[in-house]
Amino acid sequence: MARKISYKQAINEALDLEMRRDPTVIVLGEDIVGGAGAPGELDAWGGVLGVTKGLHAKHGNRLMDTPLSESAYIGAAIGAAACGMRPVAELMFLDFMGVCFDQILNQAAKFKYMFGGKAKTPVVIRAMVGAGFRAAAQHSQMLTPMFTHVPGLKVVCPSNAYDAKGLLIQSIRDDDPVIFCEHKALYGSEADVPEESYAIPFGEANVVREGKDVTIVSYGLTVHRALDAAEKLAKSGVQAEVIDLRTLSPIDWDTVIESVENTGRLVVVDEANPRCSIASDVASYVAQNAFGALKAAPQMVTAPHTPVPFSPVLEDLYIPSADAIAAAVNKTTARALAA
């Protein structure tokens, strides 16, 4: 039975269902149960924004509060994965990943390759991403491109509650390390979500709106900005197709290329900083592989090449807006008309 639940509830439900299904699934992280010195109380936090609230009561010691040492518990999760468990580690903010890069980049991502395929590392690292939360430069970054860059890691970033549940279930069942990026500004957003378990395969983009004039590619929060832009553009007679990549590694090139072959125009929207981003990756791939189909130069709409500002006014300007996306679309159509 489908009913409306939030993105946050969908993640909680995915963890609950997978813990019920598979006894090797464990969850660890800072304050995910009750916080230091407050194990498992009813009013426990369940993580910094309450995503794991209630799970300790259902699954007891399969959830573990860890010391404030990311390098230690991410390493422990990766080691446990190598030894047959399916750990889900919550890293609070993806920004904190810096202190455990060796465990992630040099260990988890390399085991399968360096042991000739004999080792698997089914670990999921959940972390919040994105700006708009007034949490300043060290808690607001969209670092998805850094992980997408590394072979051996899978990178997931759902834009809605339905995808969040199905992609997290797939992440837990997957035998490779998965970086699961949760946009904090989407936690309250609701969608129809089945009560049952379901897994959404990786590498399958979602065409969230069909259109014939321009392809807008995005993921995470900015999918919604792209949809707002498409709605505005429709009023001026421009039919935009909006593609939600859902997973950045693996990435569904076929859906992007097929769409650009129909529309001839590409706008990529990425909340990450512009250099070496998902936006530049998609734009270059399309330029190389569908050059003949393009009627205009691909456009990128990204955050600027700066840290996320703490000033609310500047932070709001930092995230790609629907107006900026619509302006980029108009650039692709104007150029085509002038030609």
């Binding site: 039975m1 489908a2 339905y162 199905g166 089945p194 049952e196 378990s197 379901y198 897994a199 959404i200 395969p201 399958e204 065409v207 069909e210 076929d254 859906t255 097929e258």
Partner: protein
């Protein structure tokens, strides 16, 4: 209100439909139309379909503007005979708006899907109408009760209509305890037991037709009649490209061309229709259920159970309906029962004939049930 004036309204195709878009008129104003004539094309976020005339007469007013969205039950056209004065029709149209608003609220409080626990698991169903006789609609392989969304309300004129989700399908339990025709037939009789239905007319589509036939053969006392629509069980051939393709598809790109084989007009397959089926196929247990059923019922492109000879020897009244351009089970199977059953092959329709030519199918089924 002048009873000689008949409204054409925005239809309600399924419980979730609250509005629809008029995409184009197939008949211009002033055309003479007969019952079942296709008049206007309507698109919802789930499906594109055609509204057929329920009454004969002249299409006197075309009210719904193409590319405009109207709420369910809104007046989009008027049929009346030529001798009805224009002034009466204008008065009817003016009065209709207020009339419809009151009815809309009533529809909001209408029946929702229900669930019932049976030995075959928890089954979802929809129920319409009241009184005798009982009619049970049984969908096909990979389908669900919404395959009947153009039929369930029309058939409720005759009595109480139930449409169920079979085990492994729709929102019923995904575990199919006995993945063969007998098991599915027992799921239907178990459903009847749980709801206190002593006997019913069984209307089955595709695999659901074979289930209806199996049930009629095993429990003739509980089956008043069967209607077999694009039905399995009447011959060996079946398009394994469809059945295997449906089971194997995990992406929109793979599933869409498979689903297009279901319809005479492939444009009927909207993005939402594909998405809804993908969401169903991703649920835990569905893949196992579909594979088990496909292996048991139509492995290697041959149907395992052909019931035509047994049906010929049985007494249950049978109606056979087929879409002429059915690409899943050949329309040639329609005559498998010879003189034993009325067979109607409908042009301009594929495997989903009950959706594509709903008016004609409803008319045939109602006449069959009432006979």
């Amino acid at each position: 209100m002048n009873e000689r004036i008949k409204p054409i309204v925005m239809p309600k195709w399924g419980l979730s439909m609250s509005e629809g878009k008029v995409t184009g008129w197939l008949k211009p104003a002033g055309t003479r139309v007969g019952v079942g004539d296709e008049i206007v094309e309507v698109e919802t976020d789930k499906i594109a379909g055609v509204v057929e005339a329920n009454e004969a007469g002249t299409l006197r007013r075309v009210i719904g503007t193409p590319d405009t969205v109207y709420p369910v039950k809104a007046l989009i056209g008027v049929i009346a005979d030529d001798d009805v004065p224009d002034a009466d029709i204008d008065a009817y149209v003016a009065e209709y708006a207020t009339h419809a608003a009151g009815e809309g609220e009533e529809a909001e409080a209408g029946p929702r899907y229900e669930f019932v626990d049976t030995p075959a698991g928890r089954l979802r169903y929809a129920k319409r109408g009241s009184g005798e006789p009982n009619v049970i609609l049984i969908h096909g392989f990979g389908g669900d009760l919404d395959n009947w969304l153009f039929n369930i309300d029309a058939l409720a004129e005759a009595g109480t209509v139930y449409a169920l989700d079979l085990p492994g399908h729709g929102q019923s339990d995904k575990r199919v305890k006995q993945a063969n025709l007998v098991g599915l037939s027992e799921a239907v009789t178990g459903f009847m037991d749980a709801l206190g239905i002593a006997s019913a007319h069984l209307i089955g589509h595709s695999m659901g037709g074979a289930i209806a036939a199996r049930t009629a053969l095993d429990h003739p006392d509980r089956v008043n009649s069967v209607t077999l629509i694009g039905s399995a069980g009447l011959g060996e051939e079946i398009n394994s490209g469809y059945t295997d393709g449906f089971v194997a598809a995990t992406s929109r790109r793979d599933l869409k061309p498979v689903l297009e084989q279901l319809f005479h007009d492939p444009a009927t397959v909207t993005r939402q229709l594909v998405d809804d089926l993908l969401k169903y196929k991703r649920l835990d247990g569905v893949d196992d259920a579909l594979r088990a059923l496909a292996d048991a019922l139509f492995a290697g492109g041959r149907q395992a159970s052909v019931l035509a000879e047994a049906l010929k020897a049985a007494d249950t009244p049978v109606l056979v309906v087929w879409g002429e351009s059915d690409q899943v089970i050949p329309a040639a199977h329609a005559t498998a029962l010879g003189d034993r059953a009325r067979a109607e092959v409908i042009g301009g329709a594929g495997h989903m004939v009950q959706m594509e030519k709903a008016g004609r199918v409803n008319e045939l089924v109602l006449a069959h049930i009432r006979a």
